[in-house]
């Protein structure tokens, strides 16, 4: 059970405090309700590039990192398709430094031309390091475009193309900032060795006078229901053939999300999972195979990916995957197997909640979803899922017509 106190400043900034006196540290986590799904299709990768620019100096403070390091702190940030999150950890006694830094960059960035020039290059190198200069690095560019036709999940957070990042202009940066980085679109979570009353005082002092901004309301078009299987064959200079297949699943708050999560555990969560046992160990068709999803807020993708053993044909490998799926659709899982994945989920939650950083991050995420109390209700939702739920969900969702398949061939 994670305890927290919640209050809202006059400018709409939501603040959550999680007190934990067992640590000398404090975490200050700010989540902005903007991700790559909010980008213009011609300017993709911008939310993530912007995250870099948040470290390029704010209106009153030329450098974010130095004062924080001087206060004994460390920080980082990440951008997903759904959101952007900034977090720092420092000795609790120095927490005001984090308030000073975070509030100034919420007030306004410095909008330095130099910072934009440099970070464009840095992000291009990041793009190269992770998606170009790496075997199979382009898979998710291709897969997202195949699986999504209208929803902005069809591009990756890093962006569709290097040129989108190279073309980013200072005006775009300013516009983006004042549209999304306002108190009304942000959530502040403070966790660790702190007192709520003191956090209230600091939040009002540092964030209270920042103009509220306009609530950003997204109008995304839902991805239409898919009625026909999609297949793409591609070829690259990689050593092994690889197989990828996805199905559209439910959004984060729907019951189906939790069912899908357990299904991915049954299929691909470890050494006793079905795909690993059948296809790697018994039939020896794949050298590795996994099943997972992305935890997306909007409708995400259940994914199977694996590399084929040399000499095995793509047809044969695909047929074997289909058989495992067909079995999910034909027979109920046993109570033991269902209990196994529920136990595993209980364990994952307990381990995740060990650090204040992770607790702060989760609280912010559930607040973003609409209710921080959801964090304490997750396990119960998994416990309620029955074998019947798994069976009917497998039938409806793991359906060929709802799938996209990528055959990734080795050129060699």
């Amino acid at each position: 059970m994670i305890h927290y106190n919640r209050f809202v400043l006059d400018n709409g900034l939501r603040v959550l405090v999680h007190e934990d006196t067992s640590t000398p540290m404090a975490v200050v986590n700010i989540m902005y309700d903007v991700g790559s799904r909010d980008e213009n299709p011609d300017k993709t990768g911008f939310a993530h590039l912007f995250e870099h620019l948040m470290f390029g100096g704010s209106i009153n403070i030329p450098d974010y990192d130095e004062p924080l390091q001087r206060a004994g702190g460390e920080n980082n940030a990440y951008t997903t398709n759904d959101l952007t999150n900034y977090y720092c950890q420092l000795p609790a006694e120095n927490i005001e430094t984090a308030f000073w830094l975070e509030s100034d960059r919420m007030l306004s960035l410095a909008f330095s031309k130099k910072s934009l020039d440099v970070q464009r290059k840095v992000v291009c190198e990041e793009f190269k390091e992770h998606y170009i200069n790496k075997p199979y690095g382009d898979v998710w560019h291709k897969m997202r475009e195949l699986a999504y036709t209208v929803h902005p999940y069809r591009w990756m957070t890093i962006g569709k193309d290097l040129s989108h990042i190279e073309n980013a202009q200072l005006n775009d940066v300013k516009e983006f900032f004042f549209k999304h980085y306002r108190p009304i679109n942000a959530i502040l979570v403070v966790a660790g060795n702190v007192k709520t009353e003191e956090i209230k005082r600091l939040a009002n002092k540092w964030f209270g006078d920042i103009p509220m901004g306009e609530k950003y309301v997204r109008h995304l078009t839902d991805e239409p229901v898919q009625h026909q299987a999609r297949v793409l064959d591609t070829e690259a200079d990689v050593p092994l053939n690889a197989f990828y297949k996805t199905w559209h699943m439910e959004s984060r708050l729907e019951k189906g999300y939790y069912v899908a999560d357990l299904i991915t555990e049954i299929l691909g969560g470890g050494g006793s999972s079905r795909l690993y046992q059948a296809l790697v160990k018994e039939q020896k068709l794949f050298s590795n195979i996994d099943c997972y999803h992305f935890g997306s807020v909007d409708k995400g993708l259940i994914t199977i990916e694996g590399k084929l053993v040399k000499g095995v044909s793509m047809d044969k490998a695909e047929q074997a995957v289909n058989e495992v799926i067909e079995k999910m659709q034909a027979d109920s899982v046993s109570e033991t197997e269902l209990q196994k994945v529920k136990n595993k989920t209980e364990s994952i939650i307990a381990f995740e909640d060990m650090t204040i950083m992770s607790r702060a991050n989760s609280l912010a995420f559930y607040e973003l979803l609409g209710d921080p109390d959801l964090m304490n209700k997750e396990l119960e939702k998994y416990q309620q899922i029955t074998a019947g739920d798994i069976l009917s969900y497998s039938k409806s969702t793991l359906d060929a017509a709802n799938s996209s398949t990528l055959h990734y061939y080795s050129k060699n």
Binding site: G72, Q89, T97, E125
Partner: protein, 426 residues
């Protein structure tokens, strides 16, 4: 109105009274030492068994790593699937890892499930069958994995730089070739398993919210095993660094980045300069605010990230600079690294930067001591490196006391361009 230009007052992290929570020590009936940290709010526990079974002790390449991997792939009573299913049913993670001196089996679980889990760990230590068919699958899949990894410049660079530093015949310098898998025999593994696991030398590290009967539980499962009876063999491996210092390797003619490694040999943690150099290393390339990062990423945009660090080896170490930079700016990146060395040799670090780095390091240690798993991991590192509590407090005093003059002297002693190996893999 608040003055946003003015930094709030801070308490200097160097003034924090950092304490390393002491471990509880006891021995099992067979003399196996156990180090425990009882802390934390979540009902989770980690039990790590450390064996002196790293590649230091193998006669043939990858015997140690393969034995370690196959520990959970079958006993006379359970096949690999049944073992995995057992641990996964209780939501537990059973991992194994092979390093140079040591190899480990670690269990992460909810405390309440330990009684069902520990006996099966025992089974793996006394009754693993290292089955032939599991070995065959492992060889095939590892070979495929190696083939994919060899396409990555950074993977190739990490292998080669270690070879230059230690020599291919040294456990720190050797790496896996496809042929090593073909040469592997089940008998090699059986022999290694018996000598270094079933009858090997073992230490236990346990942390989390521990059940009150943890000592009994551990003793019941591991106290009767034939461990720590024989001495482990004293094996010496000579370091044979390469003569040639500079290398350029083309791994992928179309590669868009160069994997750069610049490194020099360095003594181990018992050398009086080791902790002091940690401070110098932080200034040089050890954290996000370092000189290398500020110059090469934040000023020039040549890379997504650049770091320097001292390798965490027991016998001897190396000081390494590591980055992936744009192919066209790889040469310029290397030049900047040497320039930063030169500046540290010539100029005194100013008070502000000294103050910042010291505070950062102290804050970082404070954050690192947060939680039982982090505390035991520090203790494990000390025990395996033959260090005591004193090392922790000495390190802290070193960070507090070190001066800009000492930093410059150390730079002159160690940041000598000619003593560094230099490698670019495109």
């Amino acid at each position: 109105m608040i003055n946003r230009k003015e930094e709030p007052a801070i308490k200097d992290a160097v003034d924090f009274n950092l304490q390393l929570k002491p471990y509880t020590y006891f021995q099992l009936d067979n003399g196996v030492p156990v180090y425990t940290i009882d802390a934390g709010a979540q009902d989770v526990v980690m039990v790590e068994l450390v064996f002196f079974a790293g590649n230091w002790y193998e006669d043939k390449n990858i015997v140690a790593a393969t034995t370690n991997y196959l520990l959970k792939n079958g006993t006379t009573k359970k096949n690999a699937f049944a073992i995995n299913e057992h641990f996964e049913f209780y939501g537990a993670y059973l991992n194994r890892n092979c390093y140079n001196e040591t190899a480990t089996i670690s269990l992460h679980a909810l405390s309440k499930h330990l009684p069902e889990l520990l006996p099966v760990v025992t089974e793996l230590l006394t009754d693993a069958t290292l089955p032939e068919d599991e070995l065959a699958i492992y060889k095939q899949n590892q070979k495929q994995r190696l083939e994919v990894n060899l396409k990555k410049g950074e993977f190739v660079a990490n292998r080669l730089i270690d070879e230059y530093l230690y020599g291919y015949d040294h456990p720190y310098g050797k790496y896996t070739l496809t042929g090593d898998y073909d040469a592997l025999q089940r008998e090699d593994l059986e022999k290694f398993y018996k000598q270094y696991y079933s009858e090997g030398k073992c230490l236990l590290f346990v942390a989390g919210k521990l059940p009150s009967d943890i000592q009994e539980q551990l003793n019941k499962s591991f106290g009767h095993l034939a461990l720590n009876k024989a001495d482990i063999p004293q094996i010496t491996h000579l370091r044979q660094p390469a003569v040639q210092k500079k290398y350029e390797v083309i791994n992928d003619a179309n590669g868009v980045q160069g994997a750069i490694r610049i490194a020099r040999p360095f003594p181990n943690r018992h050398h009086p300069d080791f902790t002091k150099v940690q401070v110098l290393n932080n200034i040089f390339g050890g954290f996000f605010g370092s000189r290398l990062m500020s110059n090469i990423r934040e000023e020039k945009g040549y890379t997504y990230g650049i770091y320097s660090y001292l390798q965490n080896h027991v016998e001897s170490s190396a000081w390494m600079v590591s980055t992936e930079a744009g192919r066209d700016v790889s040469r310029a990146t290397i030049e900047e690294v040497y320039k930063e060395m030169e500046i540290l040799r010539k100029e005194l670090v100013d008070d502000e930067e000294m103050h910042l780095v010291k505070n950062y390091m102290m804050g970082s240690i404070l954050g690192d001591l947060d939680g039982p798993f982090q505390v035991i991991s520090r203790w494990k590192n000390y025990v395996l490196n033959n260090l005591t509590e004193e090392y922790f407090y000495n390190s802290i005093n070193t960070i507090r006391a070190i001066t800009a003059e000492e930093i410059r002297d150390l730079a002159n002693k160690y940041l000598v361009a000619d003593e560094f190996y230099e490698l670019v893999v495109v």
